[in-house]
C-alpha cells in the first residue's frame, strides 16, 4: 500500500527530499550547527515559516480540496499556541518562584507557591488568581493534549453546527470569520484569564533548558517544525489520494451530486474540518515558542484571510502549492516590511516599500485570482506541459457543455 501510495504520488518523495536537504543546509549554516552564516534570528524566522507552511497545508486541504473557505484556521493555530504557552509560562514561573521562596525562613505551602505563581503571571494585568482555564497548566502532557483537543473540539462543535444546518459557500466563510472575531475579542478581554491584550510572553525560554543558548534551541525547534511539516505533508497527501480524496474533491466541485450518490457529505466535511484544525493547532504550538509571544492580535480575522491569500498565491488544490505560497509570501512580506528593500525614487515621489508593500500584495492578489487561478504552483504545470483550459472563470457545470467538449479535445 505504502509503495503504491508513493508511486502514485511522486511529488511526496520529491517534497520530503527537498525539505530534508533544506533542513540539512540550514543546520550546517546555523550558528549552533556550523558556519554561522545564518543568524539565530533568521533560523527562527525559517522555523516559523515552516510552521506557517504546515498550517497552509491544512488550509489547502480544507479549501483547495474540500472547497470550504474557512476563515478560522488561524484561530485554531493561535489556540494551539495558547495551550502550549500556558504551560511554558507556568513552568518557567514555577522554577523562579520555588527558587526564590526556598530562601524564606519557613518553607512555603503548595497553595502559597501557586498563589505566588499567579501573582507573577497575572500581576502584569492587575490580577493574582488563577482562572479555571489554567487548571492543567502545571502539566506538560495535559497541555500537549489540549493543543490537539481544544482546536479539534472547537472545530468539531462549530463544524457540526454549521454543516448540519447546511451553511455553505460564502455564508460559511463569513460565519467562520465571525467565529474568529468572537474568539479574538474574547481573548482581548482581561476577564478571559489569558492576560488579555498582553497575551502570553517569554515563550522562547523553555523551562528546564535555561542554560541552553537560543542558537541551539532555535535549531531544535527548526528541526521539530521541519519534521512536523514533513509528517503533515505525508498525512495530507495520504488523505487526498485514494477514494477519500476523490470524495472530498467531489464535494468541492458539486456537493449536491455527491450527496445524491449516497455519501454523507456532512461527515466528510466535518472530518476534514476537524483534522485540519488539529494540524493548525499543532503548527501553532510549534510556532509560538519560536515567536516568543502570543496575543489576541495574532488571531484577528485578518490573519486567517492572509492564510487564504498564501494558499491562493501558491496554488490551491496541490499540496506543494500551499507550502510554496506560504513560504514565498511570508518571507517576502518579512523582507519588504523589514525596511531593507531600497526605495524606488520616481522623481516626483519616492516609493517606500514599507508603505507600499500592502498595496502591492493586495493588487497582486487580485491579479492572481483573475489571471492565474493556479497560482505559483501553475508554473510546475508549464514545466510538465499540463495546460489547464482557459475558461475565463466560467465553471464546468452541466449547462456549459460546450466548454467540456473543447477541453476534452485538447
Amino acid at each position: 500500500m505504502t509503495r503504491s501510495f508513493l508511486a502514485r504520488n511522486p511529488s511526496v518523495l520529491i517534497f520530503i527530499a527537498c525539505l530534508a536537504l533544506f533542513t540539512l543546509a540550514v543546520t550546517l549554516m546555523s550558528e549552533a550547527g556550523g558556519s554561522g552564516a545564518i543568524s539565530t534570528s533568521f533560523v527562527k524566522t525559517l522555523g516559523k515559516t515552516l510552521c506557517l507552511c504546515l498550517v497552509a497545508l491544512a488550509m489547502d486541504l480544507v479549501w483547495g480540496y474540500t472547497g470550504i473557505l474557512s476563515l478560522g484556521h488561524m484561530a485554531f493555530f493561535g489556540l494551539g499556541g495558547y495551550m502550549i504557552g500556558m504551560w511554558l509560562m507556568y513552568a518557567r514561573t514555577e522554577t523562579i518562584v520555588t527558587a526564590s521562596m526556598s530562601n524564606a525562613a519557613i518553607p512555603p505551602t503548595d497553595q502559597e507557591i501557586v498563589d505566588a505563581i499567579g501573582t507573577q503571571i497575572f500581576g502584569v494585568v492587575g490580577g493574582s488568581e488563577f482562572p479555571p482555564v489554567w487548571a492543567f497548566a502545571d502539566s506538560l502532557w495535559m497541555q500537549l493534549a489540549l493543543v490537539v483537543l481544544v482546536p479539534g473540539l472547537l472545530a468539531l462543535v462549530f463544524g457540526w453546527l454549521a454543516f448540519r444546518s447546511r451553511v455553505t459557500g460564502v455564508y460559511l466563510s463569513i460565519l467562520t470569520q465571525a467565529m474568529t472575531l468572537a474568539l479574538a475579542l474574547y481573548l482581548f478581554q482581561n476577564d478571559s484569564g489569558l492576560r488579555g491584550n498582553n497575551g502570553l510572553s517569554g515563550l522562547q525560554n523553555i523551562p528546564g533548558l535555561t542554560g541552553m543558548p537560543q542558537s541551539v534551541l532555535s535549531l531544535w525547534f527548526f528541526w521539530a517544525s521541519a519534521f512536523a511539516l514533513g509528517a503533515g505533508y505525508l498525512l495530507c497527501a495520504w488523505v487526498v489520494s485514494g477514494k477519500f480524496g476523490s470524495v472530498i474533491r467531489g464535494i468541492r466541485d458539486d456537493e449536491a451530486r455527491v450527496r445524491f450518490l449516497g455519501y454523507s457529505v456532512e461527515g466528510y466535511k466535518l472530518f476534514v474540518f476537524t483534522l485540519t484544525a488539529v494540524i493548525a493547532g499543532i503548527a501553532g504550538a510549534l510556532y509560538y515558542p519560536q515567536a516568543g509571544i502570543i496575543n489576541p492580535a495574532e488571531i484577528a480575522p485578518i490573519a486567517s484571510i492572509y492564510l487564504a491569500v498564501w494558499v491562493a498565491i501558491g496554488g490551491r488544490g496541490r499540496l506543494y502549492g500551499a507550502v510554496i505560497g506560504a513560504a514565498f509570501v511570508s518571507l517576502l512580506s518579512t523582507w519588504f516590511t523589514g525596511g531593507q528593500v531600497p526605495s524606488v525614487p520616481l522623481g516626483f515621489y519616492t516609493v517606500d516599500w514599507v508603505d507600499w508593500w500592502q498595496v502591492l500584495l493586495g493588487l497582486s492578489f487580485v491579479l492572481v485570482t483573475l489571471f492565474a487561478p493556479q497560482g505559483i504552483g501553475g508554473l510546475f504545470d508549464l514545466v510538465t506541459g499540463r495546460r489547464p483550459p482557459d475558461r475565463h472563470g466560467a465553471d464546468l457545470g452541466p449547462d456549459k457543455g460546450s466548454f467540456r467538449e473543447r477541453e476534452a479535445e485538447q
Binding site: I106, G362, S364, T369
Partner: protein
C-alpha cells in the same frame, strides 16, 4: 536688547506714576492674602476669597471675575497684582485693578499669570453669586444659578429667595424657584418646609433632585453594645449571617469600631512563626514540616499555649461577641419624618427613572441599529440582491468618510460642506464601485469564493492607500453647529442630534431603496437579472449594464454612510474594518435578498448589543463578543436569516 531696555525703562517710569494706585484698598487686601492666592489650592484659598467677597469694596467683583477668567497677573519683582491683556506673544497691556486704567505695555518676563484651577474657579464663582444674582445682565444671573447648582451653600437660600421676587425673566424665575425648593430640602429652616419641598418633587426624574434626596438617605453601618442608643434614626436593623451581612462582616465591623479584638490572619501567623524559630523548630514542629497549613496551625497553637503569641479567637468567643452587639444602618439625617418623606418621593422617582432609563437604552439601541443599517444597506444591494461578496465594502464607507474630510478642508462652512460632501461621496464611491465591477467582479460572478478573496485584496490595497495619502492619524469630520448637542427630554433621556440625523438618513435610504427596487425600471431589471440573467437578456435587458449600475448604487450608498459615520465617530483608514463583519452579519441575520430582513437584522443586533451592555456595564468588549456568539448560534437555527426567501427566489 534695546527693546528690553526700553521696556524696563517704561516699566520703571510707570511704577513711579502708579505708586498712588498701588495703595488702593483692594491691592492691600490682595497683598494681605498674597500667600494663599499664590498657592492657589482649593483647600486653603477659602479665606482669601471670603475676604474679597466680604470686603465691600467696589472693585471686588471685577477682581473676582478677572481672577476666575485667568486675567489677573502678578509682578514677580514686587508681588503686586494687575489685570492684563495679551498684546502679542511677549507683551502685556497692564491695567490697574482698582481703577481699571491702562498702565502701559510691559514684556511678560516679569509677570506671572494666576491660573486658578477649576476647583478654585468654582469657589470664586460661588463667592460671586451674591454680586451676580441680582445683576442686570441676564448672562451673569444664569452663571450665578449654575454656580449655586454646582456648590449649594446654606447662605444661598436667602439670597435666592430675595432674587426670585424681582426676577423679570420667566425662564430664570422658574429655575430660581426650582433651585429654591432644592435648597430648602437640604437647608430648610423647619422640618415642615423641608418635607413640603421634598414632596413637591414627587415623580421628578432630574438628576439634581436625586442628588438632593439621596444624601438624606445615606446610611452608615453601626454596631452598639446591648440596645440601639436613643435618638438614632435607624434605617434598618441587621442580623449577622443574613444575605448581605455575613458573620465575618459583622465581626470585622466590631473590630473596626474597637469593640472586639482582631482575628489573626494567615500572614500574621506566618510572621509570628518566623519570629519564633528556635533550633530549627517552632513550637515543637520542625521548620521543614511547616509547608502545610495544618502543621502551621499546630505550631501556632503550641506557641499560644506557651504564651509567646496571642491566642486566636475561638469560634465561641466569636459568636459571643456577635451576640453581645446589635448591628444597624443609621441615617445621617436625624429627623425620621424627613427621611420617610425623602424615601417616599424617591420611590416614586425611581420607577420613573427606571422607565426613562429603559427608554434611553432603547434610543441608544435604535441609534446603533440605524448605524448598522446604514452601513449594511449598500451590502443589501450588492450582497443581498446581486449575491456578490464585496469585502471592500468597508473601504467604500471609508472612502466616503475621507471624501467628507477633503471637502471640509476645501469648504470651511460645515453646513455647505456636508451638503456638498453627501452627493460627492456618492459619486466617488459609485465610480469606484463601477470600476471595481468592470475590472474585477464581472469575471468572477460564477466563482463567489474568489470574489471574496479578490475584493479582500482590493480592501487591503485601498486601506494602505488611504494610510499613504492621509496618514494613520484620525482625521476630523466636524458636524455643523445645528447638529451639535443633544435632544434632551429629561435628565435621563437624551439623544444627540447627530444620531437622530443618522436615524433619519437610514429611513430615507430605506425609502430610496424600496422606491428604486419597486418603482423604477432599474429595480425591475435588476430583479429580473438576478433571478434569471439569461431570460432577462432575451427580454432585451443588458445584464452587464444592470449589474454595473446596481453595484455602483450599492457602493455609492456605502459612501454616504461613510460621511454619516465619520460625523459621529472618526475618520481613519481602519474605519471600514470596524463595520465590515457587522454589516455582513446584519445582512445574513436579516435574511439575504430582503431589505426588511436587513432592517430587522440591524435592529436585532443593535438592541442585543445594548441589552448585553446593560447587563454587564463594566465591559463593553464582552458585549461585542457575546453578540457575535449569539449571531453564530442564531444562524445555526435560521441559516437563511429572519426573513427567509421562499421558493425559486431562494436560489440554491
Amino acid at each position: 536688547m534695546t527693546k528690553y531696555l526700553l521696556a524696563a525703562l517704561a516699566a520703571c517710569m510707570l511704577c513711579v506714576g502708579m505708586a498712588a494706585a498701588q495703595d488702593s484698598p483692594i491691592q492691600t487686601l490682595l497683598q494681605e492674602n498674597r500667600e494663599l492666592i499664590e498657592k492657589s489650592s482649593r483647600r486653603t484659598i477659602g479665606p482669601a476669597i471670603d475676604a474679597l467677597r466680604d470686603s465691600g469694596l467696589p472693585a471686588a467683583e471685577t477682581v473676582l471675575e478677572k481672577w476666575r477668567d485667568k486675567d489677573l497677573w502678578q509682578r514677580e519683582s514686587d508681588g503686586l497684582f494687575f489685570f492684563a491683556e495679551k498684546i502679542d506673544r511677549d507683551t502685556l497691556q497692564l491695567i490697574d485693578i482698582a481703577t481699571g486704567d491702562p498702565l502701559g505695555e510691559v514684556p511678560d518676563d516679569d509677570m506671572d499669570q494666576l491660573k486658578p484651577n477649576s476647583g478654585v474657579r468654582g469657589m470664586i464663582a460661588a463667592a460671586l453669586v451674591q454680586f451676580q444674582l441680582q445683576s442686570p445682565e441676564r448672562r451673569k444671573r444664569i452663571a450665578a444659578l449654575n454656580s449655586i447648582q454646582r456648590d449649594p451653600e446654606p447662605e444661598h437660600l436667602d439670597a435666592l429667595r430675595a432674587a426670585v421676587e424681582d426676577e423679570p425673566d420667566a425662564t430664570i424665575r422658574t429655575r430660581e424657584e426650582r433651585l429654591l425648593r432644592l435648597l430648602t430640602i437640604s437647608y430648610g429652616a423647619s422640618e415642615e418646609t423641608r418635607i413640603e419641598a421634598i414632596r413637591s418633587f414627587s415623580g421628578d426624574t432630574g438628576v439634581d433632585v436625586r442628588a438632593a434626596l439621596n444624601p438624606l438617605l445615606a446610611t452608615s453601618r453601626q454596631a452598639a453594645e446591648g440596645d440601639i442608643p436613643e435618638g438614632e434614626n435607624v434605617a434598618r436593623k441587621l442580623r449577622p449571617g443574613q444575605e448581605d451581612f455575613t458573620k465575618e462582616d459583622a465581626y470585622s465591623l466590631l473590630v473596626s469600631k474597637d469593640l472586639a479584638p482582631a482575628r489573626i490572619s494567615r500572614a500574621d501567623k506566618r510572621a509570628a512563626l518566623e519570629a519564633n524559630i528556635a533550633d530549627g523548630q517552632v513550637g515543637g514542629v520542625p521548620v521543614e514540616h511547616l509547608n502545610t497549613e495544618a502543621a502551621r496551625e499546630r505550631a501556632y497553637a503550641s506557641l499560644a499555649e506557651a504564651g509567646t503569641v496571642p491566642p486566636t479567637a475561638t469560634e465561641a468567643e466569636f459568636e459571643a461577641a456577635l451576640d453581645a452587639h446589635v448591628f444597624y444602618d443609621r441615617y445621617a439625617e436625624l429627623s425620621e419624618a424627613v427621611t420617610d418623606a425623602a424615601r417616599g418621593t424617591l420611590t416614586s422617582i425611581t420607577t420613573r427613572v427606571g422607565l426613562s432609563q429603559a427608554l434611553d437604552l432603547s434610543l441608544d439601541a435604535l441609534s446603533l441599529a440605524s448605524i448598522y443599517f446604514l452601513a449594511a444597506i449598500g451590502l443589501a444591494i450588492t450582497f443581498g440582491v446581486m449575491g456578490v461578496i464585496n469585502m471592500a465594502h468597508g473601504e467604500f464607507i471609508m472612502m466616503g468618510a475621507y471624501t467628507g474630510y477633503v471637502v471640509q478642508q476645501l469648504v470651511p462652512d460645515y453646513t455647505i460642506s456636508i451638503i456638498i460632501a453627501l452627493p460627492l461621496a456618492f459619486a466617488v464611491t459609485f465610480a469606484a464601485g463601477v470600476a471595481m465591477e468592470r475590472l474585477v467582479i464581472r469575471w468572477l460572478y460564477s466563482r463567489p469564493l474568489e470574489t471574496l478573496l479578490a475584493t479582500f485584496g482590493i480592501s487591503i490595497a485601498l486601506q494602505q492607500l488611504a494610510k499613504n495619502i492621509f496618514g494613520t492619524q484620525a482625521r476630523p469630520l466636524t458636524s455643523p453647529d445645528w447638529l451639535d448637542g443633544a435632544l434632551v427630554l429629561s435628565d435621563v433621556v437624551s439623544i444627540s442630534y447627530i444620531r437622530i440625523a443618522i436615524f433619519v438618513l437610514a429611513l430615507v435610504f430605506l425609502a430610496i431603496f424600496l422606491f428604486i427596487m419597486r418603482r423604477t425600471r432599474l429595480g425591475l431589471e435588476l430583479r429580473a437579472v438576478t433571478q434569471n440573467p439569461r431570460m432577462a437578456a432575451s427580454m432585451g435587458i443588458n445584464p452587464d449594464r444592470i449589474n454595473m449600475l446596481a453595484f455602483g448604487l450599492g457602493s455609492g450608498i456605502a459612501g454616504i454612510a461613510g460621511v454619516a459615520i465619520g460625523l459621529y465617530a472618526k475618520v481613519t483608514s481602519e474605519l471600514g474594518q470596524d463595520y465590515i463583519v457587522q454589516s455582513f452579519m446584519t445582512v445574513v441575520v436579516g435574511g439575504v435578498g430582503n431589505i426588511w430582513g436587513t432592517l430587522l437584522g440591524a435592529t436585532m443586533i443593535g438592541f442585543l448589543q445594548k441589552g448585553i451592555e446593560w447587563l454587564n456595564p463594566s465591559n463593553t468588549l464582552a458585549a461585542q463578543t457575546y453578540m457575535i456568539i449569539f449571531i453564530i448560534i442564531f444562524i445555526q437555527f435560521r441559516p437563511r436569516g429572519i426573513i427567509a426567501l421562499k421558493g425559486r427566489a431562494a436560489g440554491d
